[in-house]
Symmetry: C2
Subunit: 455 residues, 2 copies
């Protein structure tokens, strides 16, 4: 196992699995099927491009509430457990990270579906644990109102603890399956959880064994105080919004400091900001491509999209081309940290409604340029050590991802920054994360070590 220690730490790459891409009008792009949001062939194509590019994982965001104001992709899209399982059957090494909410669902079912995806994919599943930020989501699940932000995180914390507990129901070698002797299982290695907490009581055991990566990787995407704290305690990876050095450094320091306070090592949690790269033969060609992908965007739709981060706050009451007024804390019970980021941006730069909506919909960032320029910017932020990798959010699929894989990935590989081939068949192995010892195996090992010492 020690041969990884002296190896230079490598960049990790992922891409969002999001139909036609992050541009809300991406479905109109000539190279994109108009039904990309629910087209399995397109999803499989994206997965195969990502796997050819030796990406670590696909990241499938999710939510469960729409209104007439929702933008195209949200109106009709696949559910994560199903689409990731379909992709598992036609890929070999690519990690599959799905978003499952800890509000309005049962930890037993979530633990089981993720463990099943993990087992059937040979150890490639990940869970992005979210708390559901849309006010209306409660009304699809027999509740009148959304739990407030702090309460949602208390539920989430207990929920994740239960799910991890269920994932330890079986020790690694519990299933003997000896045809000769007829022994199928060693029942001493099956464990009930018997959890009785503030919000849930769950007996267990889970009715599926462990996978080659022990248990699925856990991600957390919330950037609020509570989200950061939960991530620092429980997550293997955290999604970040910061791609400029200074805020990225501050975020990383904050997360690592919290992780250490929970008794973890700083390297136990990986940080992944999202970027939207666009490459061209020249910087001008890349900029032109950016303009092209934005030209279909309807400003009303862009405002609608933005309003989703603010519990569908009515932005249309303000004039399009005048600086926005002070808006207070309108995002506080929804996508809290994202909303705060946008409000700060509007205030700092004195943006109009139109400008803010276009920034939200079509972020420009430092990743538009020639393949070498994009590779340079990725490498330089990565080498400061404040991020572990990036989640791509291509403007349009599959073109945006394919351009990156064909033109940027080889440069990063040549420079030794990114892998030339997979190190492992599991997501955990490729991310370089430690195998989690089963809690009961550990207890037995420790007990036996202590007995030896006393003997």
């Amino acid at each position: 196992m020690g041969n990884g220690i002296n190896k230079k730490k490598q960049l990790k790459l992922a891409t969002f699995l999001s139909g036609f891409g992050s541009n809300i009008a991406g479905w109109r792009h000539p190279g994109t099927p108009s039904d990309a949001a629910v087209n399995l062939d397109l999803y499989i194509e994206v997965a195969k491009i990502a796997e050819a590019g030796k990406f670590d994982f696909l990241f499938n965001a999710d939510s469960a509430y729409i209104t007439k104001d929702s933008t195209p992709y949200f109106l009709s899209r696949f559910e994560p457990a199903t689409v990731l399982s379909a992709i598992a059957a036609v890929t070999k090494n690519l990690g599959l990270v799905g978003t499952f909410s800890t509000s309005y669902s049962e930890p037993f079912t979530t633990a089981r579906q993720l463990a099943s995806l993990d087992k059937l994919s040979g150890g490639r599943a990940g869970w992005n644990a979210v708390t559901s930020a849309l006010e209306g989501v409660a009304r699809n699940f027999s509740h009148d109102t959304l739990m407030e932000h702090g309460l949602r995180y208390r539920v989430a914390s207990e929920y994740i603890e239960i799910v991890k507990g269920l994932w330890d129901s079986w020790e690694d070698d519990a299933f003997v399956r000896d045809k000769e002797s007829g022994q199928y299982v060693d029942l001493d290695k099956m464990h009930t959880l018997d959890h009785k907490g503030e919000f849930f009581s769950v007996q267990g055991p889970l009715n599926i064994e462990r996978s080659p990566q022990g248990r699925p990787i856990v991600f957390q995407a919330g950037g609020s105080e509570e989200g950061r704290d939960l991530a620092a305690r429980e997550a293997d990876g955290i999604y970040s919004r910061y791609t400029d050095y200074e805020p990225a450094r501050a975020f990383s320091e904050d997360i690592k400091r919290r992780a250490v306070a929970y008794g973890r090592s700083p390297g136990d949690i990986l940080i992944f900001p999202a970027i939207t790269p666009i490459v061209g033969e020249t910087k001008e060609e890349a900029d032109y491509k950016y303009e092209q992908t934005s030209k279909y965007v309807d400003i009303d739709l862009a405002i609608q999209y933005m309003s989703r981060f603010f519990s569908f706050f009515n932005f249309k009451q303000f004039p399009l081309d005048e600086p926005l007024p002070e808006l207070g804390d309108i995002g506080k019970n929804s996508f809290k940290s994202t909303a705060e980021l946008y409000l700060k941006m509007a205030k700092d730069e004195n943006l109009t409604l139109r400008q803010l909506a276009l920034r939200v919909i079509s972020p420009k960032g430092n990743y538009i340029g020639t393949p070498v320029q994009v590779a340079d910017n990725i490498q330089s932020l990565f080498e400061t050590g404040v991020v572990d990798g990036f989640v791509l959010s291509p403007h349009v699929n599959p073109e945006g991802l394919r351009d990156f894989v064909e033109q940027v990935v080889p440069i990063l590989q040549d420079r030794g920054v990114f892998r030339a081939d997979y190190e492992s068949s599991t997501l955990r192995g490729n991310l370089g994360l430690t195998y989690p010892e089963n809690r009961y195996t550990k207890a037995r090992r420790e007990q036996s070590a202590s007995a030896t010492l006393q003997a």
Copy 2:
């Protein structure tokens, strides 16, 4: 549409998706991988054999509670939404029917996962709606005790109504996706459900459009009064336990009578009993194969398996080789109708504990013999009109299924009883079931027809 009317009604075939097969010791069989219960390659092999045999669908049973007394397959197996989605990616015509409980889950989530499977498979999803019969299952879902049988069915009834309502959230042609004009959707064809009932309140709409079969096929597997009634009102297919003519006829008459009472046509609900065929070159060879598949069975394990249908009732208190005493209604709150059937069998035939357990574990039935004998027995029951098809429950996989597909299916095809090729790419199309018109489309059509009449 009329060209199907004069065609002879054809047999429908399905097979259980159950790892190593229905023999509890099937994992020891030489041709079966010992980890078959959680081996995706084996599941895909089974699916491909079934599809090569032009089967209508795979049927994936399920439950969510295990104890140390559970038999091998139950201890560690895939969850239906995940494994069926994986299979969807590598098959083209085969229907994919999964079991999802209406107890301890959210109708929005179930509706969404099934609709997602339906859409990504191109219209091949089915839902076997069950109420969870194992007493202990409640303790995995923050409840102390299982809801009693009648209450479970009241919940199920409302739940299915909600799920079907959510599946009508979008009319068939709601998604326009015109790249030229930029119109993605016709929002007049998006509908909220606004359900407020005794057990659930669900607003909607569902965040995924309809599939080519309109909505997934609904199955029901409970044979109790309440189960039959629910099936007759809501289901497209019902699983049955009767393969002898007289009880099969009585069951069929009962189900069709109930369906008609609910204003449905008798052909709206298809009946599928399970059979366990074993073929050999001679009857003797088939019998020998049966003995072989049973020889690994451990009598203790067989009794454990049986006890699952009786809320893990302790049968081991009785002597193995003496007739069982009168046992009263020990199955009444669990797998009610199955339990009653077994108790009746024990009483009628004065069975010992050993005999009953072996009957339960390894039913012999009329489907062991030469391929022609098995085909004869299938055809003769089918042609009485009391069943619409069969769900195979092979003793061991993949051998049992492969033997059937290679040796029995061609005979049924030659006789014109079973299809030579798929009629449709959807499960609904292959089952010959009517396309369900969206309720809002129907209302609009009826309103417009009535306006025309009045004009």
